[in-house]
């Protein structure tokens, strides 16, 4: 030890003093020597003594001080006691004994305190347990657990899609669809979109809501919050969108200087991605590309976007830049379709059979998801309510579809029947029409008159129109003999038309005769 040389001690007395203390405390036998040193070495003496005194005073203070310093005293005591011998022998031991007694007392007291505390702790634990039980009860009722066991955030893409399924056939997690949709609608002209981040508390709250499958209305939030949420989802993915296997190759391809070669390589790599990864990547790149297209409004050009999102996507800026650059070529068919949630019981069912069938698929997908979640153990009253509701909608849709199909079939059948009837009627026309008309003449004149005018008008209209309008009332007209003029009009054949015209002429003359007579 170079410090032991007197020169050094002269130069750095403080250092030396502290050194002595250390050695003292470390080696109790050294204490007497240390005393000698303090007495002999006058050069250092004054300062050192002061220091020692100070230190010892401190120690003493600690010894005699408040009981709160108990523990520190305990630690120091072995060395201190030896030190103290050199200064205050008689009092110290007594004091020490007293102290020790006090200590014991205090220790017992402390123990008691501790016991009390532990008691309290136990009580608290009990309370906690109760609370937890209550929570669990609530959880079992309110499906709180679902966010912990089947989360959408922080799991692999495959699971995220499974847990947060969109029921319209585009398999992306619901929050991704919702965020992209929202930003496409409201965020493209937002200045520094994706650069500005939203308040973490809000983002976390949204994440929680999505994880717990609760209804989220993003319109209640602002653009930065939604962009942050999307970024959080992407960041939380355990594996990059490009997959761990292909990421390096993606990076290599992104670094290719030749534009055409780069595009070709990127295209191949995108093709090699698993289906779900490709879909997610395509949506994100196309969406970010749309953002950069609005550079003038949002100030986010390709470089800025790449800077803001490269870490989120766990890639380099260069790769992201080149993906954005090649976006139209890489993802020509990606359309960011709006996700329409499955209908609820409050909304009206569609009337168009095609829309109904689409809705039915959605509802069935939703139902399957509810069943699978229930089978895992997420059973709550609300869940069961939802199960019945979805089932009811499905039943209604099926019924409606059935009737729609039946109606269609009926319509076709009617048209077929119509043709048959027409041909039959054609043959029977000459014999039946006169009798019908004669019967019709018995009816009141006013009605007849208007009818005649109507039929006059329709007679001139194209035959197809007349046929259409008549096809629905075909059954009625055949049943009711009151409407004779319509029958001949509906028949396309020339002969029939001639018949009709002849009939009308007869009628007109008859009416004229009547009028004259009046």
């Amino acid at each position: 030890m170079d410090f032991e040389s007197p020169d050094v001690m002269k130069d750095f007395p403080g250092l030396y003093a502290s050194e002595i203390h250390k050695t003292k405390s470390n080696d109790p036998e050294y204490s007497d020597d240390a005393e000698k040193v303090t007495k002999k070495d006058i050069l250092i003496g004054k300062r050192k003594d002061k220091k020692d005194k100070k230190d010892k005073e401190r120690g003493y203070a600690a010894l005699e001080g408040e009981s709160s310093a108990e523990e520190s005293y305990e630690v120091r005591s072995p060395s201190k006691s030896k030190k103290s011998k050199s200064f205050k022998f008689p009092t110290k031991s007594r004091e020490k004994r007293e102290k020790s007694r006090e200590k014991d007392k205090e220790v017992t007291e402390k123990k008691k305190d501790k016991d009390k505390r532990t008691d309290k702790k136990i009580e608290k634990d009990k309370e906690k347990c109760k609370l937890e039980k209550k929570e669990k009860r609530i959880k079992s009722e309110d499906w709180c657990d679902i966010g912990e066991v089947l989360p959408i955030f922080g799991v692999s893409l495959k699971l995220a899609i499974e847990h947060g399924r969109c029921h319209d056939g585009i398999d992306l997690p619901v929050p991704v669809r919702a965020c992209i949709e929202y930003i496409e609608d409201y965020g493209l002209s937002f200045e520094n979109v994706y650069k500005v981040s939203g308040p973490k508390s809000k983002v976390l709250h949204l994440k929680k809501l999505y994880n717990q499958r609760e209804h989220v209305n993003l319109l209640d939030y602002d653009v930065p919050t939604v962009t942050s949420l999307l970024k959080m989802f992407l960041r939380d993915l355990p594996e990059p969108v490009f997959t761990s296997d292909l990421l390096i190759r993606f990076e290599e391809a992104g670094a290719i200087l030749n534009v055409a070669v780069r595009e070709k390589h990127l295209k191949i790599l995108v093709g090699n991605l698993p289906e779900s990864n490709r879909l997610l990547l395509s949506w994100i790149i196309v969406h970010l590309y749309n953002v950069t297209l609005n550079e003038r409004c949002n100030k986010m050009n390709v470089q800025n976007i790449a800077l803001c999102l490269s870490s989120t996507l766990q890639t380099s800026q260069r790769l992201l830049t080149s993906l954005l650059f090649h976006c139209p070529a890489l993802f020509p068919n990606t359309v960011l379709e709006h996700y329409v949630y499955p209908l609820t019981s409050t909304s009206q069912l569609p009337d168009d059979p095609e829309v109904m069938e689409q809705e039915l698929l959605k509802q069935e997908s939703l139902l399957a998801q509810i069943h699978s979640e229930m089978n895992v153990g997420f059973i709550s009253k609300q869940r069961e309510e939802l199960l019945w509701e979805v089932q009811r909608i499905i039943t209604q849709l099926k019924r409606k579809l059935k009737t729609a199909h039946k109606d269609r079939e009926m319509l076709f059948e009617k048209i077929d029947e119509q043709h048959v009837e027409e041909t039959v009627e054609n043959e029977a026309e000459r014999s039946t029409t006169p009798t019908i008309s004669s019967e019709a003449e018995v009816q009141s004149e006013c009605v007849e008159e208007t009818r005649v005018i109507e039929t006059d008008a329709t007679a001139e209209a194209p035959v197809s129109d007349a046929k259409l309008s008549d096809s629905s009332s075909c059954e009625k007209s055949s049943l009711k003999e009151v409407e004779p003029p319509e029958v001949p009009v509906s028949v396309p054949e020339n002969k029939l038309l001639n018949n009709a015209l002849a009939l009308l002429q007869i009628k007109n003359t008859f009416l004229n005769n009547l009028k004259e007579s009046f």
Partner: protein, 201 residues
């Protein structure tokens, strides 16, 4: 609506169970829409809601028509759990369907864990007397053994169709009243009481 819980009609959840082809859907459709469908189409699961007058009181009935086939047994438990009353149906023309009611009864008791769950044993197709395979006595003995009522119905002629649904709903209502009483008797949790009131009224 929450301010006036009185206006919200009570909702009773009824589940139709039984083997395939015994007429669960036919009974349901007859009750719901007064229609009888001749052509058989296996049901996976269907759910209906209807507002009706039960002894002068307006109530809603939720009917869940389940699959008779074992293929859909996996999803059946999810439905059974939420049912408040069960119509266990068999065809009087088919002994197997009658034997199967035993399994259905056990399943329901297992899921609901309640011996006194509102339950009716229903022998359907009673219009086909000439093809009867299960005697009235046989069926009513089993019902007695279970402590439930036995009713014979015909979805075709609408005989006793309303009766089974209304009887079951009365049982459900009585059961709920009972539960309500015991809960009120405890009277520990105000919120709980309120909640239950909401449901009942």
């Amino acid at each position: 609506m929450s301010k006036k819980p009185v206006t919200q009609p009570a909702l009773h959840k009824v589940i139709m169970v039984g083997s395939g082809g015994v007429g669960k859907s036919a009974l349901t459709l007859q009750f719901m829409y007064d229609e009888f469908v001749e052509d058989y189409e296996p049901t996976k699961a269907d759910s209906y809601r209807k507002k009706i007058l039960l002894d002068g009181e307006e109530v809603q009935i939720d009917i869940l028509d389940t699959a008779g086939q074992e293929d859909y047994a996996a999803i059946r438990d999810n439905y059974f759990r939420s049912g408040e009353g069960f119509l266990c149906i068999f065809s009087i023309t088919e002994d197997e369907s009658f034997q199967a009611t035993q399994d259905f009864r056990e399943q329901i008791l297992r899921v609901k864990n309640d011996e006194n769950i509102p339950f009716l044993l229903v022998g359907n197709k009673c219009d086909l007397e000439e093809r009867r395979k299960v005697t009235y006595q046989e069926a009513s003995d089993r019902a007695k053994q279970w402590g439930v009522t036995y009713v014979e119905t015909s979805a075709k002629t609408r005989e006793h169709v309303d009766k089974v649904f209304f009887d079951l709903m009365r049982e459900i209502r009585a059961r709920k009243m009972e539960e309500n009483k015991t809960n009120n008797g405890r009277g520990k949790d105000k919120n709980k009481r309120k909640k239950i009131k909401c449901v009942i009224l």
